[in-house]
Amino acid sequence: MSTTPVSGPNTIAAPPRPATGRDPDGPAVPGAPSRRRRTRGRDEGDGRGVNWWLTVLLIVLSLTIFIPLYFTVVTALKTQDQLGGTGFALPTEFAWGNFAEAWRLTNYPRSALNSAAITVAAVVLTLLSNSMVAYAIARNMHRRLFKGLFYFFVSALFVPFPILMLPVAKQTALLGLDNQVGLILLYVVYGLSFNIFIFVAYINSIPRELEEAAVVDGASTWTVFWRIIFPLLTPMNATVGILTCLWVWNDFLLPLIIVSDPRGATLPLVQFQFQSQFTTNYTVAFASYLMVMAPLLIVYVVSQRWVISGVTRGAIK
């Protein structure tokens, strides 16, 4: 049965769920989300039954998240001589110039553009390529080679990066890939392990009848994948896209070891490179940190509900 997870680690990621995968519209509307909808309707539909103690407790606890962010914002807005005390006081006058100085000092436009371009390219290429590889593997699990490939890719999840990083740094330098292109390529390749793992589980829940019907009508395997399977993968593409975006934008270690030309540096890497200059000038440092956090934070606030449901969906599969 196609909804049965293969074995090993896969069984862990796919706890029991209703067999709606057999349903014609199964993959688009799996069992779990419909149940969630029911729960949400009951909880938020009316004010009765709301646990206010728990709500207040959670709001108070969320201060632990807001305090470092608040600290970042107020520090970024202060002048040097306002820095005394605990640092939590509101600025008496706003030093907007910190942002201008951080912008100029770190050459923000260049590193922001690097980060954005690398992130967008890595996400797009990951979605297009990793889903295709996962599809080929998922539909050929009965062949020893493909089954072997599945375990080959997934077992790499447990190979720690330190064993790779010294040889890979040498290798990319040798191949002339110690730049943005090399980074994009490595993100797409290193994402394979995890993405195949979750794409395969999802593709297994897509009934084969759709593809068989298309094949009878004369469609090639490529057509079947791009026209039928890829659109059906949209929910999982959202999950993989979100996780890849968060990883690539925030990653520090890979740019640190790969990028040799300072002009190719990403935002986190630039913060690291400027750390020695920042220690004497930390209102500017905080303005710079805030400008690094802001783009993704703003995107997240706007698309928050969609991001959460995307990540949740990935976990259930």
């Binding site: 706890p15 969320s62 605990t86 080929a136 593997i137 493909f146 064993i163 040889p167 395997t221 928050q304």
Partner: protein
């Protein structure tokens, strides 16, 4: 199209029979199979080049005295024997294990608790869930720098004002306490993602079970231990395994907060491999370290999977 040009060994025979209408069905099947090979081939090649071969290279050079460039010669297992007598290496493992185990336990305990609460009958459920995910949207390195200023400036100032002597100096400057700061940053950042995974798990638990539970008069704690936890044990396993694996490789946190100091008291294994391998001319030696580290991580994961999965079954 690629399918016509390609000729894998398996379908060479049928490829010749292309014109035969009688073999149409089989041909189609083989073309399909061939397309599947083409779909995975580039990925397999790239993965071999950028992942598998570097790993093998790493293991290979761990048997040499290579400084990362120029000449090298085989030194057998002497890098490995030297590792065990190197106090800096031993201290890195001790810090890494202690940090990773404590952070894993704390993250999972906190995340599970908050996830259960966020799944309860609360107001503004979606907004609160969104708020608790924020740390995961931030770069560890960058928010780590913010935490560094908090630990070095704000916390001591606050402690002095409140008269708490123990915290009136930066914990990051204290070799005995600096690791606590790294745990705090790691827990703050990683709990966010684990909360969402646990919430996903909680949504797979059928409501009927709780209804049956309350009919039988089960307390909230009893419902958690008898219904919730067994039902999401799979999520617990995967979260514990992934958290430990990630924390064992801790890097950004250390570089942001202490850069391994004071002294080498918070130098993690990844940081040591990075520093020794790239800056210290210990390419071969640190690759031996990395090889041991890889074995350790695989062993930890295998052990965890066995123990936690066995428990899943028994529950």
């Amino acid at each position: 199209m690629a399918t016509t040009a390609a000729r894998g060994p398996a379908d060479r025979a049928t490829g010749r029979a292309a014109g035969s209408a009688a073999k149409g069905g089989r041909l189609k099947e083989n073309q399909t199979a061939r397309t599947f090979y083409w779909m995975v081939l580039p990925a397999v090649v790239l993965f071999l080049v950028f992942h598998t071969i570097p790993v093998l290279q790493g293991v290979f050079y761990s048997l040499t005295d290579s400084p990362g460039y120029g000449d090298w010669s085989f030194v057998g297992l002497s890098n490995y024997t030297a590792l065990f007598g190197d106090p800096r290496v031993m201290s890195a493992y001790w810090f890494t294990f202690r940090f990773a185990i404590i952070a894993t336990v704390l993250v999972n305990a906190l995340a599970l608790t908050i996830a259960v609460w966020l799944n309860g009958r609360i107001k503004w459920k979606n907004t609160l869930r969104g708020v608790y995910f924020i740390p995961n949207v931030l770069s560890v390195l960058v928010i780590g720098y913010v935490f560094q200023y908090l630990f070095a400036g704000a916390v001591p100032a606050l402690a002095t004002a409140l008269g708490i002597d123990r915290l009136s100096t930066s914990i990051l400057a204290d070799p005995q306490l600096a690791w606590v700061g790294i745990v705090i940053l790691a827990v703050w950042q990683a709990t966010a993602f684990n909360i969402i995974i646990y919430i996903a798990g909680l949504q797979t638990v059928p409501q009927e079970l709780y209804e049956a539970g309350s009919l039988d008069g089960a307390s909230a704690w009893r419902q958690f231990t008898s219904i919730t936890f067994p039902m999401i044990a799979g999520f617990f396993t995967i979260n514990m395994v992934l958290a430990l694996k990630n924390f064992l490789q801790v890097f950004d946190h250390v570089l942001a907060l202490t850069n391994g100091g004071p002294g080498t008291s918070t130098e993690s294994v990844s940081v040591l491999i990075f520093k020794g391998g790239f800056q210290g001319g210990e390419y071969g030696y640190q690759l031996a370290n990395a090889t041991i580290f890889m074995i350790v991580i695989i062993a930890f994961a295998a052990f965890q999977l066995r123990v936690l999965q066995r428990r899943e079954v028994s529950l």
